[in-house]
């Protein structure tokens, strides 16, 4: 399951589809993992993953893209092949890292997946030109954090809930609203236009 997930997150080409797919996979993962939390909680988490992460957010980003007439290209700074190698290196590094960790409370598979998603998201942010890809990179990070919270959170559902609710709050409300505004003020959504504020 996690391997499949990894191979998809590796390609980074059709970001939105990947986000949807990640949402559904998160749904599956949560359903299988969180067995000993109560029902209300479980329903909340499942709703969050499937409705929010898999449907609402990608739809919203799609809406923003349409509205601001952003071209469909990702405009990376580096060629795709180099990106592929870098992301693979991230996976290898996290797998090696996880081998050094001895902890019975921690599910290693989740840990590896979470950390690699996290770093891939960070890489996505620094290697792409458009603001919208920065937002998507941030959403990747959020997904990674979500898995991380699953890796540690089976006995602390409270923490998972807290994280989910506030992640939603932070990521989409703030990023979404401002991106909408950026589209209004700035007809060309290229990050290079937001370069003037410096010393």
């Amino acid at each position: 399951m996690s391997l499949l997930y990894v191979s998809i997150a590796n390609r980074l080409l059709t970001y939105l589809r990947i986000l949807v797919f990640q949402g559904f996979i998160l749904f599956g993962v949560t359903y299988l993992t969180l067995t000993d939390v109560n029902h209300v909680n479980l329903i909340l988490i499942l709703l969050e993953t499937i409705v929010f992460k898999a449907i609402a957010v990608p739809w919203f980003i799609n809406y923003v893209i349409r509205r601001n007439e952003i071209t469909r290209e990702a405009e990376p700074y580096l060629p795709n092949f180099v990106s592929l190698i870098i992301v693979s290196l991230i996976f290898v590094a996290t797998i090696i890292l996880s081998h050094f960790i001895q902890d019975k409370n921690l599910d290693k598979t989740y840990f590896v997946v979470a950390l690699s998603t996290l770093f891939t998201g960070l890489y996505l942010i620094i290697s792409r030109k458009k603001i919208i890809t920065h937002v998507i990179g941030y959403l990747f990070i959020e997904n990674g954090v979500f898995i991380l919270s699953l890796a540690v959170g089976n006995e602390m559902p409270m923490l998972v809930n807290l994280g989910i609710m506030l992640d939603i709050f932070a990521s989409v409300l703030i990023l979404g609203v401002f991106f909408n505004k950026i589209g209004d003020v700035l007809k060309n959504p290229d990050v290079n236009l937001l370069r003037n504020l410096k010393d």
């Binding site: 959020e142 602390m156 506030l166 003020v185 003037n196 010393d199």
Partner: protein, 475 residues
């Protein structure tokens, strides 16, 4: 109970400010909010160390910060009022401005006194939201750029804090406890798994640097303070930085009960020295006055964290320094607003001869410059001297020498800009257009600078007690 009153009061005032369009009612609401804030701080001062609502426990450090924010918020509101009056704002933008300010102040105050790391985290998020409303006040493309960068970097650093909390929960779970409050962390500190604790520290520290203004996440704060209206920038440059300090301090206090203290101090010293270095690089070549004030804040936070990391007298000095800094820096930001009214520019190339146009304000700038560079009549001199002493006692002689060289360069950079602003005649200026600014408008700045001097040279017993109590958190 009293916290409940404060929170509902905040929500009522904030909502009222946001929806109300009547000027008189708005200012009445602000005054009542100030009264509420003062009542709240004084109440907590008289009933310290009492757990309320399970998650809040005002200890002496929290109370000290609470009193600081109560003092600073009065001139902030007053200057906010002046700012709005001079900028012909619509009632809507005015309402949003003040509502965001109230939310920011309340979120900071709650975070100061909370006893649970997740609660601090929640209130940190609220400050991001309200600060972004303040930064985007002018609704133009530069403000948008500032707010976009601020929100993005803060969102990432908040995620970092969350990851840190997750790692911390792993460490806590291994020790067989399931309580993440600071009290329980202090008591069980020695039982926590060092590996997870280290990881948690790295993430949480990095996350809080966005608010505190240290390397690596300091950039967000600079743009924010530059783009926010000056009264809001003053809050961002003082009380919001204190929030970051509280986050770092409380988590560092957990480390002081473990053998990992040395490691954590090293991490903090590296970040602090780099921050002072970055501040030096920018301060010596910067041409934007407001950003220069913001970078000066980075320098001071570097010194504060340096003092904290060295331990001994440094902890006392660090807390004193951050309290005094939150009086000095706002006065510079408040004064900046009047500079902008005179020259309509932030660039050092467009200003000059400020003594001629606004004497009272020029004296504020001169005194503020002495204060911010910690020259002897200033209060910061005392705390900075103690920080150097702690560096010396901890045998960090090389770091001390390096820092002293950097500080000298900062004084040179800061001074050359300030003196240019004060004495050199400006090049293109139409003297007829310069508005007369009354001397009494600088009165709050004088008072703030005076408070900083008074607290440092003749500290009241209350301050000393609170400081000494706060130092005890780091054993």
């Amino acid at each position: 109970m009293i916290i409940g009153i404060f929170l509902t009061g905040t929500l009522i005032v904030g909502g009222g400010l946001f929806f109300n369009r009547n000027t008189a009612v708005n200012y009445l609401l602000l005054i009542s909010y100030l009264a509420l804030l003062w009542f709240f701080s004084i109440y907590e001062l008289n009933a310290p160390d009492r757990t309320q609502f399970e998650f809040f426990k005002p200890d002496s450090l929290g109370i000290l910060m609470l009193l600081t924010i109560s003092v600073v918020s009065i001139p902030a509101f007053w200057h906010g009022y002046r700012y709005i009056a001079l900028h012909d704002e619509t009632p809507k933008s005015r309402g949003l401005f003040f509502a965001a300010m109230v939310m920011l102040i309340s979120a900071c105050s709650m975070a100061y006194i909370s006893n649970h790391i997740a609660v601090i985290w929640i209130f940190t998020e609220i400050t991001t939201l309200s600060a972004s409303a303040l930064i985007y006040h002018h609704r133009n493309i530069r403000a948008l750029e500032g707010v976009w960068k601020y929100v993005f970097i803060c969102a990432i650093s908040i995620t970092f804090i969350y990851i840190g909390i997750l790692f911390l929960s792993l460490a806590v779970k291994q020790a067989g406890i399931d309580d993440l409050s600071f009290d329980s962390l202090y008591t069980h500190a020695s039982k926590l798994n060092p590996f997870w604790l280290k990881l948690a520290f790295l993430f949480i520290f990095t996350g809080f640097t966005a608010k505190l203004g240290l390397v690596p996440m300091y950039t967000a704060g600079i743009d924010a303070k530059d783009k926010a209206p000056a009264p809001a920038g003053a809050l961002l440059a003082s009380v919001l930085m204190n929030l970051g300090f509280i986050g770092v301090f409380r988590f560092y206090a957990v480390f002081s009960h473990t053998p990992l203290l040395k490691w954590a101090s090293t991490v903090m010293i590296v970040a602090a020295v780099l921050s002072v270095f970055v501040a030096t690089v920018y301060m010596t070549r910067i041409k934007n006055i407001k950003r220069m004030f913001a970078y000066s804040g980075i320098e001071h936070m570097g010194l504060v964290i340096l003092g904290l990391a060295c331990g001994g007298i440094g902890v006392y000095a660090a807390i004193l320094h951050i309290v005094l800094h939150s009086f000095v820096k706002p006065s510079l930001f408040f004064q900046f607003n009047q500079i902008y009214r005179v020259y309509q520019s932030k660039s050092i190339y467009d200003v000059g001869n400020y003594f001629k146009y606004n004497k009272a304000g020029a004296i504020v700038l001169l005194l503020g410059f002495f204060s911010a560079t910690a020259m002897p009549p200033s209060g910061l001199f005392i705390s900075e001297f103690m920080i150097f002493q702690s560096l010396f006692e901890a045998h960090y002689i090389l770091i001390l020498a390096f820092i002293l060289i950097l500080l000298t360069m900062i004084i040179w950079g800061f001074g050359s800009n300030i003196f240019r602003l004060l004495f050199t005649p400006p090049i293109h200026i139409n003297e007829a257009q310069i508005p007369k600014i009354k001397a009494w408008e600088s009165l709050p700045q004088y008072l703030l600078l005076l408070i900083a001097v008074y607290l440092a040279y003749a500290p009241p017993a209350l301050l000393v007690n609170l400081l000494q109590d706060a130092v005890k958190l780091i054993s």
